[in-house]
Amino acid sequence: MDFILHLINGISLGSIYAIIALGYTMVYGIAKMLNFAHGDVIMVGGYISFVVTANLGLPPAVAIVAAVAVCTALGVIIEKLAYKPLRAAPSLAVLITAIGVSYFLQNAALLIWSSNPKSYSSMFSFEPLRLFNNRLSITSVTIVTVVTGIVVMAALTLIISKTKMGKAMRAVSEDKDAAQLMGIGVNKTISITFAIGSGLAAIAGVLLASAYPIIMPTMGSMPGIKAFTAAVFGGIGSVPGAMLGGILLGVIEIIGRAYISSELSDAIVFSVLIIVLLVKPTGLLGKKINEKV
């Protein structure tokens, strides 16, 4: 029974990683950059939902919508101000800028909300689900997280494979110049990608803060790094890869913490990543990179 509970918790944590990893992988696939500020957008999402419920006293639904709206706008603004001017710059310059944006967001949060951790009351407070004569109790946050994870992944898969916007995104990801010559606006497509990724980060922020009810300005960095790892694990640039990588990473982390060592759980996660990359350098579902001749 314990094992099932750990597995469910692992899938729940993994769903959060997957939602964050989707943002990393989509931005990488389309803009060919690693947006290391992505983790801090999670933090902003957490704080916005906190402010709306705790300070303004509005219901959780409003808080979630506000967090998603603010983060979506924030993502688009970050891209316009920080990354767009560097579209033609070497990738190292963009990477360093992303780290700069990350610190900027953390310090802005420090200024506004101070460094004191704040206790966050879960956005989802219905009764836990009890199964097998109370031997298995699944918390409301876990249920919501897993369901949200499934909905987000299904919706995103549909958008990317079936809609016009998704096709434009895949076209830009594959060949920016050819896409432009087909009349697809690359800047617009990149903006949309950042908007979707950052909106998802806000959702992840709310879920994360509800599950681990403390928020502080640096709360986004560790999940950000884990989710980046998940994206690499699954094959960066691949949407199904990010989903698979996220969920596996969450499960490995929780199972490792429960049965091997709670101190070593992160080490176990990264060891698995290293082993996978040694065997399959492009990640689990990553595509082989064809050199253009």
Partner: protein
């Protein structure tokens, strides 16, 4: 083929296109990269339904002209008028919407996408539904997607490729990939289609078929086609007007017959004959 007649802006267009203004008028077009002059004083007029050719030795600047037309590069001199509109300062997307579509010398399909999706990407600006309908799959989404799908079938039928709709573009044979690139370009609804070496890598029978298809496309869509090609049988066989480029400059313009007998063209292709008879 209709007779070629001179027009005021120093060029020739088919007689049948005389009653409407030319689709493309290029005057004194030039671009320099650093100190290197890639294209200089390039003048060309293309009639509304004309098939014309741009030929010249390797490195003459032919693809650069295409890149200038599609705004991959911005010209440093001169003007390009598409249907009377000056495209100076426009973006690639804007000139595409204005009516220029192209294919590439080295095929650039979205190779991990299906044939159908490749063509749909070409249709991107032709069908519309709002994002919400797309995400929630509301009726406007289904209606637009259905229309797009039908249009894709119609376009693919030009080359009898409907049965390939679900294949991955990258898995098609080479000739089919070249044909798909033309279909994808046509999907953007151009008034001027630029073909960069459409017959490259094709065998003689495929080239023969391609020639027939280029004519068919011109007749069906009533558009102008400008092509870069090294295959002289194709160029001489279907082009009504030909411009010859060498070292970034036009060295000759005229009908296929005029070009074939032009001494400067022969020299550009074969080298100058020295007095002692050896190659320069």
């Amino acid at each position: 083929m209709s007779k070629m007649v001179p027009v005021p802006s120093a060029g020739i267009i088919p007689e049948r296109d005389l009653n409407s203004s030319p689709i493309l008028e290029i005057s004194h077009l030039g671009i320099t990269f650093g100190g290197l002059v890639a294209v200089e004083d390039f003048n060309l007029v293309i009639g509304r339904t004309e098939i014309s050719g741009l030929i010249g030795p390797n490195g003459a600047g032919k693809t650069t002209v295409f890149n200038l037309l599609t705004k991959v590069y911005q010209q440093t001199k001169g003007a390009i008028l598409l249907d009377g509109v000056d495209t100076k300062g426009m973006t690639t997307v804007q000139v595409n919407q204005l009516g220029i579509a192209r294919t590439f010398q080295n095929i650039r399909l979205f190779s991990s996408l299906t044939v159908e999706d490749n063509v749909k990407i070409g249709l991107h600006n032709q069908y519309k539904y709002d994002t919400l309908s797309g995400i929630l799959r509301l009726p406007p989404y289904w209606k637009a997607e259905k229309q797009a799908k039908e249009r894709v079938r119609e376009l693919l039928s030009i080359f009898n490729m409907e049965h390939m709709a679900k294949y991955k573009a990258g898995s098609l044979p080479y000739g089919a990939q070249r044909r798909l690139e033309i279909v994808r370009a046509l999907a953007t609804n151009p008034s001027l289609l630029l073909l960069d070496e459409p017959a490259a890598g094709m065998n003689p029978s495929e080239t023969e078929e391609l020639m027939a298809n280029i004519r068919k496309i011109r007749d069906a869509f009533q558009i102008a086609i400008l092509l870069i090609e090294h295959d002289m049988s194709l160029v001489m066989g279907i082009c009504e007007g030909i411009a010859v480029l060498n070292y970034g400059k036009i060295i000759a313009k005229g009908t296929p017959e005029e070009i074939q007998s032009n001494p400067e063209v022969i020299e550009a292709y074969l080298g100058k004959q020295k007095e002692d008879g050896s190659d320069a």
